[in-house]
């Protein structure tokens, strides 16, 4: 994949560690995240007050996604057939460049200048806004959070709540500076300002771009959930609607969305359902009075087929993008979404991003975790995130010539020295003779151990072998016992 033509709005500063360090020192940012995550965790817990139901529902969600993935190519073809029958044009893209190219060709075919977007994480993967702006096409976000983030030339810091890193005062200043409105911290007023600006944009837009929450193969239906109504506006008012989605969003049957929808909204926001569940099965029919004349669906791979190839990593594609893993992550809550430097932050970001950009580009992703297990425990479709993180750590230190290479950019943390040390350590601990010789010298030469051993001694005192080994002392102890008898 080449993304060289795409200019990010915010240059991603430094590396993960530096960004994390900076974020940890930003008290405002930490307060904003802490408050929001605490509230989201409480809401989710209340929405799943019946643990028995919750666990069975999670198991069902997992089995629905596993079933869909187990026949993914067939379901994608069925989806395409049914959508085509319904009058929707389906496009396939292996890379984000291809996907952007498809979107651009549709826009050019209509000589369109203004695009309005509903919330779509896949379009963030594509960096669609910048791609289109570089070609003189306005591409405006219409989700309130996304709009705020775009106005400040930032990226979303959370997949459900893009502007969660800002407080009302920061939004007030932003609106005052960029829109020339009177400064107000009143959230109702701020939202009404956004509503006024964006209503005009919905009115003018030539093209609406949205994501998809679930694509139903059985009926050829695109299901979108949202609270604001911007998704409905985007998919109903402009003459052309382009939906972009990952190939893993397809489910087999319409009934499958019943538990998935419930899991999604309860896990994400702690609500029984979103304000709008929008099921789109085609463009405006003859004699209908509104709705888009054309509907397109772009199915994007972008590394998903790589995750799919390995049965353990395939589970990454169960994700229904609820964000619960980040809400419950002690690391995400402290460092915030921007620290990850990529589209998907938090635990799910750590396991999906390496497939999209290559492990070498995000070498610290798998290790930026305490492996506390909270993400795996709350995941509504039971993705074993901690196990996958451990797996990616292994893949990232594999020798370049090791067999079974499963992902692009793997082995980026491979070090011959480290590998040599571990091999020696393994040998030492599996051979009694070698171990005895080692213990003999380690105890007697303990004065020679270095006091500085890299990152370890930044936060810990250096380890020093004891004067006598445990084996030695045990042997002596058992010997004395023998004498007493």
């Amino acid at each position: 994949m080449s993304t060289s033509t795409i200019i990010p709005t915010v240059a991603v500063e430094e590396d993960f560690r530096t960004r994390a360090h900076n974020a940890l020192g930003d008290q405002q940012l930490r307060n904003n995240f802490r408050t929001a995550m605490d509230s989201l965790m409480t809401k989710r817990a209340a929405a799943f007050s019946d643990a028995h139901e919750r666990e069975h529902l999670r198991a069902l969600g997992n089995s629905i996604k596993a079933r869909a993935l187990s026949k993914l190519p067939d379901l994608l073809e069925q989806l395409e057939q049914n959508l085509t029958r319904n009058g929707v044009t389906v496009h396939w893209a292996e890379t984000v460049d291809e996907a952007n190219g498809i979107v651009l060709s549709i826009i050019r075919a209509h000589e369109a200048r203004q695009v309005i977007k509903g919330k779509s994480m896949v379009s963030e993967e594509m960096e669609m806004n910048h791609f289109l702006e570089a070609r003189d096409i306005e591409c405006l976000e219409s989700d309130m959070g996304e709009y705020i983030v775009q106005l400040d030339h930032e990226k979303p810091s959370h997949i459900i709540m893009p502007a969660i890193h800002k407080n009302a005062g920061q939004v007030a200043s932003l609106f005052h500076d960029k829109l020339g409105v009177e400064y107000t911290k009143d959230v109702d007023q701020l939202i009404q300002i956004g509503r006024r600006v964006l209503r005009q944009k919905f009115f003018e837009a030539d093209i609406g771009v949205s994501g998809v929450n679930f694509a139903v193969a059985e009926t050829g239906t695109l299901l979108l959930v949202e609270n604001e109504g911007n998704g409905r506006m985007t998919t109903t008012v402009p003459p052309v609607h382009i939906a972009v989605t990952g190939i893993e969003k397809v489910v087999e049957n319409l009934r499958d969305v019943v538990p998935l929808l419930s899991l999604l909204t309860r896990s994400a926001l702690g609500i029984p359902i979103t304000t709008y569940v929008n099921m789109i099965s085609g463009p405006r029919k003859e004699h209908e009075l509104d709705g888009p004349q054309e509907v397109h669906l772009v199915l994007l791979d972008n590394g998903r087929s790589q995750a799919f190839a390995d049965s353990e990593l395939r589970q990454t594609l169960n994700c229904i993008r609820c964000g619960a893993c980040m809400n419950h992550c002690p690391v995400y809550t402290r460092v915030g979404g921007h620290t990850y430097g990529e589209v998907y932050p938090g635990p799910i970001g750590k396991i999906i991003t390496p497939h999209m950009v290559g492990l070498a580009k995000v070498p610290d992703h798998p290790s930026a975790s305490s492996l506390c297990g909270a993400c795996g425990e709350v995941c509504p479709v039971k993705i074993p995130i901690p196990a996958i993180l451990r797996r990616l750590r292994e893949e990232n230190v594999k020798a370049p010539d090791a067999p079974n290479q499963v992902m692009r950019g793997q082995g980026s943390k491979y070090s011959r020295k480290e590998r040599f040390i571990w091999n020696a350590w393994a040998k030492l601990n599996s051979s009694p003779t070698l171990y005895r010789i080692f213990a003999f010298f380690a105890t007697r030469l303990r004065g020679l151990t270095p006091s500085n051993i890299g990152p370890w001694t930044q936060n810990h005192s250096a380890p020093k072998p004891a004067a006598r080994s445990l084996h030695d002392m045990a042997r002596e102890h058992l010997g004395k016992q023998g004498e007493r008898r």
């Binding site: 190519p73 709540m161 009075l289 190839a309």
Partner: protein, 223 residues
Amino acid sequence: MSAKQNILGKLRKSLTGTTPIADTFDVDLVTQPYTYSAEQRIPQLRKLMEAVHTEIHLSSGAEWPALLAQLLRDRQLPSLLIAPTTPHGQRITQHWANNPELPALKSYDRPMEEWKTELFNDTPASLTGTLGAIAATGSLIIWPTREEPRLMSLVPPVHFALLKASEIRDNFYQVQQEFEWAQGMPTNALLVSGPSKTADIEQVLAYGAHGPKDLVVLILEDQ
């Protein structure tokens, strides 16, 4: 090779030698906790919809036009958008004919493009029917048609919706089964569970984000 062939080829190769996972969909799990008696349905729907700022009025088949007229006057709404060929649209037209002092009626009777500016800027309220509701989640089922198009329930800031009490279903699964949606979906089907809202700024809930600021449901208890 096209992108489609490449993607499908890779996926198929990865699945070589595997068998599809069996369908073990557990219907009870998504229906049993969400089954209600006839007496429970309206209170359950009300509880959930009112929790998200929906205004609910109980009325009857005979009285709802007068109630609607009163609600329009209370809110000082200058006009109401209706779908003139629907039964409820016709009912309103009759009622209005007998009461000439009521707010003006507008009809959604031509393609949106022909009156887009007026729809966006000068249409303060609308009335639509519903296909029923879902008690489990507090949702109206809206199935826009040629007669009653999609934007009626979205663009006007106040949306009045008529709901027959007998058409309140228990849960989404039951609705899909009863309407046989798996055999064919309409161009657009919607579940609407309150007025438009957002919590995108500091998680503070604000109503009237992009869709209606007010959703007013008239439940016809005798229908």
